[in-house]
Amino acid sequence: MSKGEFAVIGTGEVPCGNYPDRTEFEIAYSVSRMAIQDAGIDKSQIGAVLGAAHIMGGEYNTEVVFGRLPEAIGLRNCQVTGQTVSGGASSHSIRRTAEGILRAGEAEYVLIVHSQRFSQFSMNEQAQYFAVAGSDLEFEVPYGMTYNALAAMVTQGYMTQTGTTVEQVASVVVACNRWARLQENAMFRDKELTLERVLGGRMVAYPLTAYMCNVLADGGSAYVMTTAENARKVCDKPVYILGEGSDYSHRSIIKSKARNLSDMGKYLAPVAQKAYDEAGLGPSDMDIYEVYGSYPGVNLIVMDALGICEPGRSGALVEAGETSPGGKYPCSTNGESLGMGHTGTGCGFAIFVEGVRQLQGKAGRAQVPNARFLIENCGGGAFMDCHFTIMGNEIP
């Protein structure tokens, strides 16, 4: 990708939360129409539709494979359909696929759709799935490992090695909650969390209380992507993709490239730097840092990589309110999965479309004034990989 070669021109999103009567198909069709309307193009211009995987499978994935989306949305000139699956990193792999389709000239405009309805599954089914999802079936699950246990372990190790306090970890949840309360689509838009409340929550997996664990939610979003050249013709404020940096570390956390958990931020820093370099920008040029870690300790690890503080010190930054609304380093402005709700492969999509809204000046009450550039990340599995993207409403 060359700098500013591709751009996003419109987004759509439905509220996150517990909506058992709203099917994953209804979500997908709704967000698609919103994104096309927001992009200001005619649906006949869409040449490719890419869907992200619905976690815990089901009919939706089969129907995406069988091409239901273009037919149901009425995309008469669609030429290519497809699906990508890389867990929480799907928002990245799907966008890279879209860029390839655009560069090949297969399509002029690509529609990218995510939809998830967890509420169709029982609590037991969800608990069983998420034990299995984050952990190795043969060597970890028999020990009673769960996603929460994995995150708790990473947090415990990180805290011990860096001197980060549990109050600092909890303050990530509070900061995300402050953003979520400014977001009309966030699951926790009406629920205020204080530090005392987060710390006093039910202990799930020490050191994580219930409020430090994300909650599964139904939700979805979509966006339209095109070449920068097309974007300038049809859109007043396109959001350009300016830089990318990616790395894969491991399947199981025991094989992490960063042997010490305190060094995970240091390991990720050059990956973020690659994205900064490609954009020709640095950490201080960013107006927003759209961090997605899915657990507060992991958010801190990602923040450690961004060049806004010494690795291991991001907890102090968050505790001081610097990542909250009005702070020097606005982070995770949609409330992240902790405030927005965790929609499976959708958390990366949600924070990406929020980044687009911010740079288009459409972020409502959460709008960071005059935002021009931001860095965004996503990752999947048991914190298996990390992808940083620099976006901007101008090409520097």
Partner: protein, 150 residues
């Protein structure tokens, strides 16, 4: 609420309460065969000396098949841990609270395991541990760790 009340409340069967067991692959079977004999072993490449845990089909360093299974001293060091209190799959409810941990074993590999025979309050990263074996079924024995008694 005890486990029988929980089972009745949620309509769980005995099958739902069975803990998940490993499903060994062709290349991991020797690991579980050794565990059954209360030995902790690792797959070591006889060409380059690389140890793969978890084991894979061939050496992930040099792609060679030739390997041996080396027996671990069973000594380890606690790297990080979590104390599970809530929200675990039902078969693990009777064990709550229980500790899941990352342990660095003397021969080099890091493992996910349980720390048993301990007061979770007294766990400390860096503390010395030793392997113990829990016979889960007649077929499967899990290597776990406990603090070394001074």
């Amino acid at each position: 609420m005890n486990i029988d009340e929980i089972k009745e409340l949620l309509g769980l069967t005995d099958e739902d309460m069975k803990k998940p067991l490993p499903k060994p692959t062709k290349w991991s079977q020797p690991y579980w065969d050794a565990a059954k004999k209360h030995k902790l072993v690792f797959k070591k490449c006889t060409k380059c000396g690389h140890i793969d845990h978890p084991p894979y089909l061939y050496c992930t360093e040099c792609h060679v098949d030739d390997h041996e299974w080396i027996e671990s001293s069973g000594k380890g060091v606690l790297n990080a841990y979590a104390v599970n209190h809530f929200g675990v799959p039902f078969p693990f409810w009777p064990d709550l609270p229980y500790v899941t941990a990352m342990v660095d074993v003397e021969e080099g590999p890091r493992m996910i395991t349980n720390i048993v025979e301990c007061d979770p309050e007294e766990l400390k990263n860096g503390m010395e541990l030793e392997v113990v074996f829990q016979e889960r079924t007649s077929e499967f024995t899990l290597p776990q760790f406990r603090p070394v008694k001074k």
